[in-house]
């Protein structure tokens, strides 16, 4: 690591160039936004940014490694299945959201800034799927985390500002934790390759390896860092704040793509075989899945509801990852990625639909609501949808009670998406019909969610598709949705409708008290007066001088000075004798 290999041409990467281009291209697009001629309508550039990534994902090159030793501490990029899949998903979502944004954001504030940071966020988001070394990963992760701040804050309303403030505080906290975790791992492995880092975190104690406590600390910090992004409870609180505050296309990418950066981080970095960690993640993840639903049901903002749904879904994914780690099961980790992919498309479609609801009337609106219902069902795992495949893929990771919980989580998922549907149906229409650029992406994303899992099944799961046609699987897929419909029916039944008052939980639930506490802490720190020495005051010095001055007055008369001279003679004589 200390002496990277030298390139013949400085900065020119070794290996395939395309992955580097995937990352550089959006940056160039972002920079273009600042060019005078383009500055007026930079939003139009947005769809261009993810195109190379999408092409790369579609091309599906063989596993290859690209190195750029001069950049950062030596950039290494790889294209493995999981990474490419999620890369493709991410690129697609960003493309869709970008197209959507052209229509949605007619007169945005500071379009150039928005475009620039959109592209920067995108770069980071793509980078996490390609990175094979910790520093590149970290840089990408930081880019996606921090640049997204500008997407959240874009509207500039007080609400947006507050949400963004909390978002950035948490993001930086997460970054810091992650950095420490990485640093420990790098120190333990003396390497930057993610694979080595992973290995060192479970390496048995011994010469040249990390102390178990350090390993534990690193793992914990990595979980905190990525969990924060992935909305792992109780670190989820930014999601319900940021999503409603951000412009809709931004919400879509936040929930559909950016959150996945945390997921890929957990998958990439957590070492297999860490049983305790895995179990812990499983517990927290499942708990998240349920609690988030309960919290989400109390919300009345469409995007907040969706955000809690994301938290819930990600809980599930994290539980899968936990299970995979605990069981040292790479298949489970792959499945988690698969599940995340489906969720990404579905959630992107759902978020984008929020904007569509306001501009759709008549039959189109009914079709839209039906589509939303179908997507919701897919997420809940309705057989035949892409979501069912996703559920099926992750289930082998669980058994017993956990499996039951996973299956039953469909109830919550359905409920919360029903809540969305109900709330969405109440949205008042402001415009006559939707622009194609808004409708198109929603449809495309929805279709991707429903269909792509079918296409990719074979890549992720060795089992034949036929397995899904089994009765057990069908029942498992349907009953939670039915239960949910039942509950919803009861709740919405005339006698109860409008009577049930959930507790008034603010968006972001625990965010408010935490925020108050943080503000109080900062204020306390700010007002603290440290004992800084300021001793250079003359007056104090002068006090020291007073005795000297008195002595000086005493010595001045000759009778004293002369006597002292005589005394000195005697003393010198005595000292010499």
């Amino acid at each position: 690591m200390m002496t990277p290999e030298t390139a013949v041409i400085p900065f020119w990467p070794q290996g395939p160039v395309w992955p580097m281009l995937v990352l550089i291209w959006p940056l160039l697009i972002g920079a273009l936004a600042g060019v005078p001629g383009l500055r007026e309508k930079p939003i139009r550039l947005l769809p261009l940014a993810p195109l190379p990534a999408l092409l790369l994902a579609l091309a599906r090159p063989a596993d290859a490694t690209t190195q750029a030793p001069d950049v950062l501490l030596g950039v290494i990029l790889t294209t493995d299945t999981l990474g490419l899949t999620l890369l493709g998903m991410t690129a697609a979502i960003w493309l869709a959201a970008g197209l959507y944004a052209i229509a949605y954001m007619k007169a945005p504030r500071k379009p150039a800034v928005f475009t620039g940071f959109w592209c920067l966020t995108l770069t980071g988001n793509l980078g996490v799927f390609l990175a094979a070394d910790a520093v590149t990963f970290y840089v990408s992760f930081a880019a996606v985390s921090l640049a997204a701040y500008f997407l959240v804050v874009h509207d500039g309303t007080p609400k947006a500002l507050r949400a963004a403030r909390i978002y950035i505080a948490l993001a930086i906290f997460g970054e810091a934790m992650l950095l420490i975790g990485f640093v420990i791992a790098i120190a333990g492995s003396d390497s930057l390759a993610i694979a080595d880092l992973r290995a060192t975190l479970t390496a048995p104690a011994g010469e040249g390896t990390l102390h178990p406590a350090a390993q534990g600390l690193a793992i914990a910090l990595i979980i905190i860092g990525f969990g924060l992004k992935a909305g792992l409870m109780p670190l989820h609180l930014w999601l319900p704040l940021a999503h409603p505050a951000a412009p809709t296309p931004a919400s879509a990418v936040l929930s559909g793509a950016i959150v996945k950066a945390g997921i890929i981080g957990l998958i990439r970095f957590l070492p297999e075989g860490a049983v305790d960690t895995g179990v812990l993640l499983m517990v927290i993840g499942l708990a998240s899945a349920y609690i988030a639903v309960l919290l989400g049901l109390t919300q009345s903002n469409l995007k907040a509801v969706l955000a809690y749904s994301t938290v819930s879904q990600m809980g599930l994914v994290i539980a899968v990852i936990g299970a995979g780690i605990a069981a040292s099961d790479p298949q489970a980790l792959l499945a988690a990625g698969y599940y995340a992919m489906h969720h990404g498309f579905a959630k992107a479609a759902l978020f984008l639909s929020v904007g569509l609801l306001a501009v759709t009337r008549g039959g189109a609106r009914i079709a839209l609501l039906a589509g939303i219902a179908l997507l919701g069902a897919s997420v809940a795992g309705l057989p035949g949808t892409g979501g069912a495949l996703a559920k099926a893929a992750v289930k082998p990771a669980f058994d017993g009670f956990a499996l039951m919980l996973v299956t039953a989580s469909g109830i919550g998922t359905s409920l919360i998406l029903l809540r969305y549907l109900v709330l969405g149906a109440r949205v008042e229409t402001q415009a006559p019909h939707p622009p194609a650029l808004m409708a198109g992406p929603v449809i495309a994303m929805g279709l991707c969610a429903l269909i792509l899992p079918w296409i990719l099944w074979s890549v992720f799961d060795p089992r034949p598709l036929g397995y899904l046609a089994g009765v057990g699987a069908l029942i498992d897929g349907i009953w939670p949705i039915l239960v949910a419909l039942l509950i919803a029916g009861i709740a919405l039944s005339p006698p109860l409708a409008g009577r049930i008052r959930g507790p008034a939980i603010p968006e972001g639930d625990i965010a408010a008290p935490l925020e108050r506490g943080a503000i109080r802490l900062i204020r306390a720190v700010t007002e603290m007066e440290p004992p800084v020495p300021q001793a250079h005051e003359w007056r104090r010095v002068l006090r020291v001088i007073a005795p000297a001055e008195a002595l000086e007055r005493r010595l001045l008369p000759w009778r004293v000075s002369g006597l002292v001279i005589l005394a000195l003679i005697i003393v010198v004589a005595l000292a010499s004798a």
């Binding site: 001088i545 000297a548 000086e552 000075s561 010198v572 004589a573 005595l574 000292a575 010499s576």
Partner: protein
Amino acid sequence: MTASALALALILTAPLFGALAAMLMGRRGPAIALATIIATAAGTLILLVIIATEGAVHLAIGGWEAPLGIQLRADGLAGGFIATTALVMGAILAVAAKPFAGGKTERRSAYTFWPLALLLWGALNAIFLSGDLFNLYVGLELLTLVAVALVGIEGKRETLAAALRYMMFALMGSLLYLLGAALLYAAHGTLDIALLAERVGSAPGDIVAAAAITGGLAAKTALFPFHAWLPPAHSGAPAPASAMLSGLVPKASFYILLRFWFEAAPDLAGSGVLMLLGGLGAFAMVYGSLLALHQDRLKLIIAYSTVAQLGYLFFIFPLAGGESAAQPWAAGAWSGAIFHALSHAMAKASMFLCAGLIIEAIGHDRLPGMKGIVRALPMTVFAFALAAITLMGLPPSGGFTAKYLMMTASFAAGQPFWALMLILAGLLAAAYLYRPLALAFALPDEDAPAPKAVSRARQFAPLALALAAILLGILSAAPFAFIQIGRPGAAVEGLE
């Protein structure tokens, strides 16, 4: 006619001739001074070259060898002091040319200043070259009377009181020195330093003589606690006189003290006496610095600084005297003290000259009035700052070299106390010199009267002195080697 005789004759007589000429021709003072400077400088240069190339010069006056005659001896030490004196006197007299200019009619102070100043120079040179204790006495008396006269030259009540006060110490010092010399002669039949070195033992007579000489010279050198006369005397005199009094005069009595303890009576120097002298020096450093901190007049600050700085010099006794004399570090300690004496002479003279120019510009030397003086006298303030650097012992200056050498010696000798005192004194010096400097750099008060202009040429003299003090530090190697020439005691050796 030999070059060394010519050099010595020039150095000894040129200032005296100059003084007599100035006494005769009242209004030609500056011109006579210039001629004196040239002649003395020429002699000094020749002497330096001779010492550097051939070693210490020895000359029996009238051809009478000791013990009958008086011996002149010019070793590296003497050469260093003579050269420094020439430099300092040159600068002082250059600045003095204006306030003490001849004019149409003869004025009292303008008349007496020049012969007095030149006599002072002559007395200094006589002392630095003399190898005979009684001859040193006469030279010392000449120096003292001239110095007293210069203190009182302003003719104000305070300056006369200061002169009288100085006179008391000086008279006492002279008598005690004479007593010591008489006892030494009575015991050993000679006052030649080289001969005494062989004869002085530790008989009661020697001890009483040493005690009397030490007491007398300490009073003249203004070693604490005999310094009471110094601040009023040095601050009351006109600036060029102060510069001589502070920069040069105390060095002469110190020089004799050095010659006495290191050359005439090295065996007598017990650790008790050496520690006593060093201790008083240390006390003087702290005490003088503290009082300097509290003064509100620039010249008083500089004067108390002299009290403090003279204290440094006495570290030479514990570090290079007695049993230390034969140790490897003695060379460093000895040279360090000499470096200090020389660089202090230049820096202190420069400071007093600066103070004089400031007084010319603003009419007084009270600190608050100095605010913003840098605008009117940039070179002067810069010179003052450079001199301050030397006094603080900061590199690269002669003061630093001195401090470095003495500190090294004190650690090597296992007496780090002196080193710590040196550091402390440097800090205190920084503190008391900082005040005037900071004020000089501050923005002037808006209602302050505009300072009078002072010509650049005159500002250059103190700057040259301050630069010389700095140069002494940058080019330490040559002077270091030079003042080792003929050094008593251990052989010349480098620092370990």
